[in-house]
Structures are given as C-alpha cells and as structure tokens.
C-alpha cells in the first residue's frame, strides 16, 4: 500500500486513534484523579484488613492458653487500623483538590494542561499511598501475629517485637508523606 504513515494506511477519518499515546491523552484527567482517589482508599483498606485478620486469628488462639496477652496485643490491631486511617486521610485530601469539569460550551477555553497535570499527580499519589499502605498493613499483620504467639510463650518478648511492628508501620507513613507533597502541587483549574 502506498503511504508510510500508519494512520493513513489504516484509517483516514478524524476520529481514528493515532496509537498508544492516545491512551494517556484521551483519558479525561478527571477520570485519572477519581481512579487515584479510589485506589488510595481501597488498597489501604485491603492492607489493613489483611493485617487485622492475620493478627486477630493468632491473638484469639493464643489467648486461650495464655489469657494475659489479650489486652496488650490489641496494639498490633491498632497499628493495622492506622494504615486504613492514612488511606482515608489521603483520599479526603485528594478529593479536596477536585473541581467540576468545564461546561460543554467552555471546553476550548479550559486550561487542559493544568488539568492533565493535576489528574496525573492525583492518580500517582493515590496509587503510591495505596500500595505502600497495602504492604505496610500486611507486614504489620504478620509481625503482630508472631508477636502474639511469642508473647504467649514468653512475656518479655512483647516489647522487642513491638519495635519490629513500629518499623513496619513507618512504611505507611513514608507513603503518605510523599503522597501529600505530590498532591500539593496539583490543582484543577476552576471551571470558566
């Protein structure tokens, strides 16, 4: 066939795709931002829930034969819950940066570049916070389960293993710090 441009060969109309870059430019920035908010919330909750069931089942089982560990070990559950709270905080911050989309007759005068920047920033901040909280929640859960089992055997081990859990939940804090800084610069322009 004559012609070297792929789009001329395949398709001639105005509505054709030009290839892979259209995925990035033709998805609405509002869509990107909303997905980011969804991911931050849901992935953090998955991490927290995972951690809680892992540590909760061990605490229940170990407390049958060693009832003294019941109250102390709820600290592990609280650490897991903290990752869920980070997710909620981040989601609320990100939602604060959203604005209404432009009306259909004002589309040409809208500042799309700022909007795209904001959309990408909110999406990646959301994914970042979500995934770090997922990892942190699972890790706190597994460490918490071992903490309960070790505490049941030998009470002096509790405080030492708690330090491991503190490091594990610090991972979630790293995520939310970077996420907040990243979403700081993002701002959807007000609709004209």
């Amino acid at each position: 066939m004559v012609g070297t441009n792929l789009t001329q060969v395949l398709c001639d109309s105005d509505f054709c795709n030009t290839g892979w870059p259209t995925i990035l430019t033709h998805l609405s920035p509002f869509g990107w931002a909303s997905m980011g908010i969804a991911f931050t919330l849901s992935l953090s909750i998955v991490g927290a829930a995972w951690g809680i069931f892992v540590t909760g089942s061990s605490i229940m089982g170990a407390a049958i034969k060693a009832p003294r560990i019941r109250s102390k070990n709820l600290v592990s559950v609280i650490f897991c819950e903290a990752t869920a709270i980070y997710g909620v905080i981040m989601a609320i911050i990100l939602m604060g940066k959203m604005e209404d989309p432009p009306a259909s007759d004002k589309i040409e005068v809208y500042e799309w570049t700022t909007a795209y920047f904001a959309g990408y920033a909110l999406f990646t901040a959301g994914i970042g916070v979500g995934l770090t909280n997922l990892a942190s929640g699972v890790s706190v859960g597994i460490a918490g389960s071992s903490c309960a089992l070790a505490d049941a055997q030998n009470g002096s081990l509790f405080v030492k293993i708690l330090i491991v859990e503190i490091f594990a939940s610090a991972l979630g804090i790293f995520g939310i710090i970077v996420g907040i800084i990243q979403s700081n610069m993002a701002a959807f322009p007000t609709p004209p």
């Binding site: 995972w50 892992v54 061990s58 605490i59 170990a62 034969k65 597994i142 309960a148 049941a152």
Partner: protein, 333 residues
C-alpha cells in the same frame, strides 16, 4: 480423589489455620517439664502426685475423683486428651480436618482389631466392658462396635461384616481393599477360597489394614505438599519400616518362615513405602534368622542401633521403636 487446598504461605496461612496453630502452641506449652517429672518422682502416693500436678495444666483433671488409682489416672488423662483433640478438630478447616481424621483412623483400626480378637477368642465376652476399653480417639457409633461381636470367622462372615457394619466407617475402604486382595490372591490358585480365609489369623488382617492406612496417609500428605509432605512422610516411612521389621521378627518362629511360603505369604504383608522399600524389603523377604536380619540392617544406621539394643536385651524392640518415633514427632513441631 478430592482436591484439597494447600495450606497457605506466610500471608494467607492464618485465614484457615491461624487459630488452630496458636491453640496448638498453647497446648504444647502445657506439657509436663523436667521439673514436674522430678517432683512426681519424689512422691510417695498418688494423692501426692495429684497435689504436685496442681500448678500445671493437669491441675483439674483429677479434681472430681476421690479414690486415685492408676486406671482412673489413665482414664482421666485420656479424657483430657480427647476433649482437647475434639476441640481442635471442631475448629479446624479443611485440609487440616482431614489430617486430624487420619490420625483417628489409626485408633479406629486398633479398636476394631481389639473387638475382633476378643470375640474370636471367647465368644461370650462382655461387650460393654470391651467398648469401655476401646481407645476413645477412635470412636465409632455404639451400634457399630456391638455388631462386630456378632459376626463369624468365615469368608462369608468377613464379607458380611464389611457390608453391614464397616462400610460406613472411614476404615471401610481399607477393609474392602483387603477383601479384594484376598480374593485375587486365592484366585491365583493356592487353594479354595474357603479354606484359605478360614485359617486367616487376625494378625494378618491387622497388618493389611495398617499397611493400607499408612499408604493412604502418605499419599494424602504428599498431596498437601510443602513441609507437611516432608516431615509427615518421614514419620510415616519410619512407622512402615518399624512394621516391616516387626513382621520379620515375629515371623521367625512361625510357619511363615518356611522357604516356600516366604515370598507368597510374607512378602505381601510388607508395606510398600518406607526407607527400607524397595531394596530392603526384597532382602527382608528372604531372611530366616536374626543374624541375617542384622546384616541387612547394617546399611541403615538408625535401624541398626535400634536392633542392637534389642539384641543386647536392655530394651524391647517395641520400646526402642517407640522412642525413635517420639523423637521424630518432636522434630515435627
């Protein structure tokens, strides 16, 4: 073959098994320690023992009885074990539940053999007494055990016993395989079905049942894979080898030791798994006295040490095997 889900990795194990695992760790903590054994050692009477056990996990199990005697201690200790086991079994998820069930099949085989032997030796034995003696971990319904006493020792009797009673129990399938193998073997032309089966000693039945049970259990553990497979298969293989060596030892004085009978009668009794399988079993099938047995075992150092103890006479071979089993079971924790 049912497909069981494998026990999870570090992040998912607790979904199904976290509670039971923590419970097992707690129960293990309750074992009597060196200190407790020493204290018991110094006691004069059983009442003293009860006093000394107050601090431990065993504090309450003798609480209700007034007159302490060895049989009551054994009964109460078994009750404690059974209630803890039942709790574990009730809280367990598949495939752990099936694993715990396999443990009970061993005791079920024990109980069935106990009642069979008692009935064959003395048809008027008191059934209720026997049922009380049965190991509680291998519980059947009451009706099952009582109807075992009613059957006769003839080929039709065995088949009837299977059809009416054992077919519903979990060990029914081992009994079915046993009946099948007996009928194929006698069809290969030794003599008529009737006379062979009539002379069937109950020890043969017990051997076959145990062999089939061990093979089944090993297959189940292999399916589960991972560490369960490694450790459990090790334990089951040691059991199988102990059974093989015992069969050989016990057959030395009996007709099974004759040259012509060795390969047809004795060989099928050996389990088809274990560290002695297959080369050791081939050699074991041909030995005729203890010296030859000792020379074969020389290549397997663990069994050699056990057998030497037996030959020196300071421990019976059952005790020595039992010690070894306790060691490897401990490692499994």
């Amino acid at each position: 073959m049912v497909v069981y889900s494998k026990p999870g990795g570090i992040a998912t194990f607790n979904i199904a098994d976290g509670f039971v695992e923590a419970l097992v760790r707690g129960l293990r903590l309750g074992f009597l320690k060196d200190m407790d054994y020493r204290a018991i050692h110094q006691c004069e009477t059983l009442a003293d023992v009860r006093l000394n056990l107050q601090e431990t996990d065993y504090g309450n199990f003798l609480a209700e009885v007034n007159q302490v005697s060895p049989s009551i201690v054994r009964e109460k200790a078994l009750e404690k074990l059974v209630s803890e086991f039942e709790y574990l079994r009730a809280s367990a998820d598949q495939p752990l539940a099936q694993f715990l069930d396999y443990i009970t099949y061993d005791y079920m085989i024990d109980n069935v053999m106990l009642i069979l032997k008692a009935t064959l030796n003395n048809p008027n034995t008191n059934i209720v007494e026997l049922v009380k003696q049965a190991h509680p971990l291998g519980q059947f319904e009451d009706s099952v055990l009582k109807s075992i006493c009613a059957f006769e020792n003839s080929p039709k009797g065995y088949a009837e016993l299977y059809q009416s009673v054992l077919i519903d129990t979990p060990i029914g399938k081992y009994f079915a395989r046993f009946l099948q193998e007996e009928s194929t073997r006698s069809a290969h032309g030794a003599s008529e079905v009737q006379s062979l089966l009539e002379e069937m000693p109950t020890t043969k039945l017990e051997n076959m049942l145990r062999k089939l049970y061990l093979e089944d259990f090993a297959a189940f553990c292999e399916e589960l894979g991972g560490e369960t497979a490694e450790i459990m298969v090790d334990i089951i293989k040691s059991r199988a080898d102990a059974a093989a060596i015992n069969i050989t030892l016990n057959s030395f004085g009996t007709p099974l030791n004759d040259d012509n009978l060795r390969s047809t009668e004795r060989k099928p009794l050996y389990p088809s798994l274990g560290y002695l399988y297959p080369e050791g079993i081939e050699k074991l099938a041909l030995v005729s006295d203890e010296a030859a047995l000792a020379s074969i075992l020389r290549t397997y150092s663990v069994y050699q040490t056990i057998f030497e103890r037996h030959q020196r006479g300071d421990k019976t071979i059952d005790d020595a095997f039992y010690e070894r089993e306790v060691e490897i079971n401990e490692l499994a924790f």
